[in-house]
């Protein structure tokens, strides 16, 4: 599978299909063969996570993973500690997510679930990545909150980065992306443009029936 520059791609699939494993492998948290993953023409499969991050890949981890003993702003500063050049800094982040600006001095644990998810995405953006990987951003959030977060995605994409969304919430994900990969037991069972896929073909690939 591939993700082109400036493109948004969704990876969907049932529980245990290997979606999170895929993202963690790309980010370097799980070991893989050096040539199994290439980024901007270079093999990165053998690199440790911090080196992958330095090349411009940011992962927003499942469960958000905010640093509990850091304030909201400190979480964002950690995200930006590589000092990669790009459009995202504290003020542009606070324009995108005003609520984070209002609560920048609070402990990250004091945020609501939706705000925590925004902070996690914002922290990923602070690295000014070329590729942003998002693992289950709708997990455990109310539908209205999920919609609120998804409305920010076009702004994020307009800055020219590539996006990979791993989602259980297929309907929401399909609206936000150009192309879709459906995983089943660690393999790509279906690939195609989001607008071409019907509910039936997805269901077939999803459950392997």
């Amino acid at each position: 599978m591939e993700v082109r520059a400036g493109e948004a791609v969704a990876v969907i699939g049932a529980n245990g299909a290997g979606k999170s494993t895929l993202l963690k492998s790309i980010a370097g948290l799980l070991p893989s063969r050096p040539d199994a993953i290439t980024f901007a023409g270079e093999p990165i499969g053998g690199l440790p996570a911090h080196a992958v991050a330095a090349r411009g890949i940011a992962l927003v981890p499942e469960g958000r993973g905010l640093f509990a003993s850091l304030s909201v702003e400190e979480n964002l500063l950690i995200g930006g500690q590589l000092n990669r050049p790009g459009p995202w800094n504290l003020s542009s982040i606070y324009d995108l997510f005003p609520v984070l600006g209002e609560r920048h001095a609070m402990p990250s644990t004091a945020l609501s679930g939706g705000q925590q998810q925004m902070a996690a995405i914002a922290r990923g953006l602070m690295a000014n990545p070329k590729l942003l990987l998002c693992d289950e951003i709708s997990l455990g959030l109310a539908p209205i909150v999920v919609r609120d977060i998804y409305t920010r995605l076009p702004t994020i994409l307009s800055a020219g980065i590539s996006l990979v969304l791993v989602e259980q919430d297929v309907v929401q994900a399909l609206k936000a992306v150009q192309r879709v990969y459906c995983l089943q037991e660690g393999r790509v069972a279906l690939a195609g443009a989001a607008k071409d896929l019907t509910r039936e073909t997805i269901a077939a690939a999803y459950f392997g029936v």
């Binding site: 948290l29 440790p48 992962l59 850091l70 500690q81």
Partner: protein, 289 residues
Amino acid sequence: MTDWINVILQGVLVGGLYAMFAAGLSLIFGVMRLVNIAHGDLIVLAAYLALVATQTLGIGPLVSLLIVVPLMAAVGYALQRLILNRTLGEDLLPPLLVTFGLSVIIQNGLLALFTADDRKLQAGAIEVATVRLFEGVYVGLLPLLQFAVAVAVIAALQFVFYRTALGRAFRATADSPEVARLMGLDNRHVFALAMALSLAVVAIAGVFLAIRADFDPSIGPARLIFGFEAVIIGGLGSLWGTFAGGLVLGVAQAIGAHINPGWQILAGHIAFLVILAVRPEGLFAKGRA
């Protein structure tokens, strides 16, 4: 009355030294959940480095800090990168055993190089200078300086930990090493920096220990225990709590010694055990220990 004021004052001033023993210990426990059994022996190692520096270069002990502090920080960075990082994980036995082995190596290495003879650093006139606080209560200039340095060290650590990018990296890595790696933080490097900072503090503590009293290669473990007691008395997770814990320990020892010279150390241990029994989270804990 002035008798007791003097005793408590002495205890408080020694307590500053214990707080420095403790600060390095609590720093690395906070960042990587590692208890360094060789901590006390590293303090003694720093004292010997200062001894060698003063003897070979003809400099004073306080000037020798300029050499000993960076040297110990480098030792800390290398130690963490080359050995201790490989022991970190779920199992708490490897770090404990490896630092225990390190303690034996440092003690016996120093014994082989310097023999078991008592040593002391000579700081010159400042050692005998005293300051009169009020009628009948005098304090030495040196203990006062050492106390001021201890306050400055704790304040500096507090600043680094809560106000700098390095401190943010420490706290983030302590919270979740895995997520910190996603932010481009190499946790092996972060841990090594924490150990370097810890041993820089150890170096300052070691030099002041060596000016203040006789030392020999075997006294390290007792310094580890004093530092540990200060950490637990003060409560985990608070640097100023650790500082206060050092003072409580110093005062307890001074009172014990005043009653019977043989009870100095015992009184400190008993104070520790009483606090463990009555308030196991420590006197100044932030939240739960």
